[in-house]
Amino acid sequence: MGATRTGRKPPRVGDQPLFRRMLIGIVLVIVALLIVAPLVVISVEAFSKGWAVYRDTIIHPDTLHAIGLTVFAAIVAVPVNTAFGIAAAWSITKFDFWGRRFLLVVIEIPFSVSPIVAGVAYLFVYGLQGVFGPTLDEYGVKILFAIPGIILASMFVTAPFVARELIPLMQAQGRDLEEAATSLGASGWRTFFSVTLPNIKWALLYGVVLCNARVMGEFGAVSVVSGNIRGQTNTLPLHIELLYHDYQAAGAFAAASILALIAVFTIIAKVALERQGAGRVRRPALVANSAEKTQ
C-alpha cells in the first residue's frame, strides 16, 4: 500500500459534522428532559423538607409495611417465576411437542398486554362475582384485596422475564451437551446442575434481576387487585401514589427514592451481567465452539 492518506476523508452516509452534532444534540436533550430531570427531581424533592422528614417518612409504619410487602411479593414471585422460566425454556428448547410454538407466543402475552388488563382479569376470575370467587369465599380463602392477589398479579406481569432470556440462549446451545451428559450416564438432575445451569447462569441471573425490578415496581395490575388498604395491602408503588394524593409530596418522593435506588442497583447488576455475556444470544465460549462448525 502507498503512503497513509491525509487530509479530509470523504463523508460516509450521515457522517456530515452538522448532521452528527444535530443528532447527538437532540438525543441529549430528550434524555435530559425525559429521564435525567425526573430522577433529579425525585432526589431533590425527597430531601426538600430535610433529612428528618425523609427519615420519618421511611420509618413510618405504613411505609415500612409497604416496603415489607413489596419485598415479600418479590421473595415469592421471583423464585416461582424463575422456576417457571427455566421449566418453560427447557421444555420449549429441549423437547418436541405439539403446541410448542403456541406456548412460545403465550408466554410473551404479559409483555404485550397492559398490566391493568391482567388486574381486571383477576377480578373476574377470583372476585366475588367471578368464576372461582364464590367457591373460594365459601372456604374462607381470600385472594383479592389480600396478599395472594398481589403476588398473583405480580407473577402474571413478570412471568416471561426469565423464560425470554433463556430461550434464545438455550436454542443456540442445542441439545448436544445434555445428550452427551446423559450418554455418559448422568441423571436428569445431574445433567441440569452440572451441564445446563453453568452454561445459562449469566442469562438466568439477568432474567432474575429484571424480573425482580419489575415485581418491585409493578403498579397497574397490583393496584386493581390490592384494594389499597394502608398498612395491609399496600405495596411500595401504591404507597407512593397514596402519599402523593394525600398532599405529602416530600413523603411520596422519599418513598419513590427507594424505588429509584432499587432501579440503580438493577442497572448496575444488569451492566455487570452484560459484561459476562448475558442478555445477548451468544457467549464467548459458544462463539469459539461454533467458529469451528463453519469450517
Binding site: E179, A181, S183, G185, R190, E292, K293
Partner: protein, 339 residues
C-alpha cells in the same frame, strides 16, 4: 459386543427416516454407515445409542434386547459431530465427567489416573488443564473420543466424526482412529457422507438411501461389485453412456464390452475415470477434449462424444493434451446396468 438391528423403523412426524432396517455388527467390528443426507444414517446411530427410540423393530446388544433401555444405562460411547464438549469444564474435567456421574463409584485417584491414561491414548498429554475453546478442532475431537471411551462403553458410536475438520487433519485422524480401534478392539459404528472416509476406515461399509440399506460389504466388495446405479454413482465419479445389450455384449457409441448372462435390451454403461484410456487413433469412442484440469496426481480430461455425452478420464501428467483435440476413448472395464 455384537449389535443386531431387527426391522427397525423410525418416523419423524410424516417423514419416514428409517424403514425396516436389519443389520448385524460383529463384536469388535468397525462399520461405516454411509449415505447422502436424509438417508437415515444418523437416525440409526442415534437409535443404537438410545438418543432416539425406534418406532418399530428391535435392537439387541449381544443377546439382550436393548430397544427400550434408556441412553443413560445403555453403556454406549457417543461422539457428536460438533464434539459437544462441556465449554465450562477443562479437558480433564470433560474426560472425568462420565466417571464422576457413573453409578459405579470410583476413587478420586482412580479417576485421575484414568484421565491421564486417556489423555495419553488420544495424544493430548499436558493439555488437561485447557478449556475446549483453547484447543484446535482436531484436538477437540480427540477429547470427545477420550470422554466417550472413559466409561468403558460396550460400543463406540461416532456421528460424522471428522465432518467439521479440514482435509489434512481429517486424513491424520482417520489413520489414528483406525489405530485406536485396533488397540482397543471395541465395536465401533460411525456415520459419514464421505465415501473415501468410509472406504478408508471401515471393515464393512453399509450404504443407505431413503432409510433403506442398499448394499453392504467390505470396501472391496462394494467398490468392485456395486449392485445398483446409485451405489456406482455414490461411491465416486462415474461416466454414464447409453448402451444396448445384444447376445451377451453391451454396445455403446463405438465401444463394446462383454456382459455374459445379461438379457438383451436397453442398458446404461458406467465407467470410472480410471477405466477409460485416451488415444489419438481408433478404434474407440470418438470424442473431442473440452477441458483439461491439472491436479497434483495427474490430469483430468473432460471430453464430449459425437453423440453429446460427457466423459471424464485421467491421463498421466506428462501427456500433452489440449482442449479442442480429437481422439478416441477406449474402455478398459465397465459396469452395465439394465434400464
Amino acid at each position: 459386543m455384537k449389535i443386531r438391528l431387527e426391522n427397525v423403523v423410525k418416523t419423524f412426524e410424516t417423514f419416514r427416516a428409517v424403514r425396516d432396517v436389519s443389520l448385524e455388527i460383529e463384536s469388535g467390528e468397525l462399520v461405516a454407515l454411509l449415505g447422502p443426507s436424509g438417508s437415515g444414517k444418523t437416525t440409526i446411530l442415534r437409535m443404537v445409542a438410545g438418543l432416539e427410540y425406534a418406532d418399530g423393530g428391535h435392537i439387541y446388544f449381544g443377546d439382550q434386547d436393548a430397544t427400550d433401555i434408556p441412553v443413560r444405562d445403555r453403556g454406549v460411547g457417543f461422539v457428536f459431530q460438533h464434539y459437544a464438549l462441556f465449554p465450562h469444564m477443562t479437558v480433564a474435567e470433560n474426560i472425568a465427567f462420565g466417571m464422576k456421574v457413573s453409578k459405579v463409584k470410583r476413587e478420586k485417584a482412580a479417576i485421575e489416573a484414568r484421565v491421564v491414561e486417556l489423555l495419553r491414548l488420544v495424544r493430548l498429554e499436558g493439555l488437561g488443564g485447557r478449556f475446549p475453546a483453547q484447543i484446535s478442532g482436531g484436538q477437540r475431537q480427540r477429547v470427545a473420543l477420550a470422554r466417550a471411551l472413559s466409561v468403558d462403553p460396550k460400543v463406540l458410536l461416532l456421528d460424522e466424526p471428522f465432518g467439521a475438520l479440514d482435509a489434512n487433519v481429517r486424513h491424520d485422524l482417520r489413520r489414528w482412529l483406525r489405530e485406536i480401534h485396533r488397540e482397543l478392539g471395541i465395536t465401533t459404528i460411525f456415520v459419514t457422507h464421505d465415501q473415501e472416509e468410509a472406504l478408508d476406515l471401515a471393515d464393512r461399509v453399509v450404504i443407505l438411501k431413503d432409510g433403506h440399506i442398499i448394499q453392504q460389504g467390505t470396501a472391496e466388495e462394494v467398490c468392485r461389485n456395486p449392485q445398483s446405479t446409485f451405489v456406482m454413482k455414490f461411491l465416486g465419479d462415474a461416466n454414464v453412456l447409453a448402451a444396448e445389450v445384444r447376445d451377451g455384449r453391451a454396445y455403446a457409441s463405438g465401444a463394446a464390452i462383454d456382459v455374459s448372462g445379461m438379457a438383451d435390451g436397453k442398458a446404461e454403461l458406467y465407467a470410472r475415470p480410471a477405466d477409460l484410456d485416451w488415444s489419438a487413433q481408433g478404434p474407440g469412442i470418438p470424442a473431442s477434449i473440452t477441458r483439461v484440469l491439472d491436479r497434483p496426481d495427474g490430469r483430468r480430461v473432460l471430453a464430449t462424444t459425437e453423440t453429446g455425452e460427457l466423459l471424464e478420464f485421467d491421463v498421466e501428467p506428462e501427456r500433452p493434451v489440449k482442449a479442442g483435440e480429437g481422439g478416441f476413448v477406449t474402455l478398459r472395464r465397465a459396469k452395465v446396468f439394465a434400464v
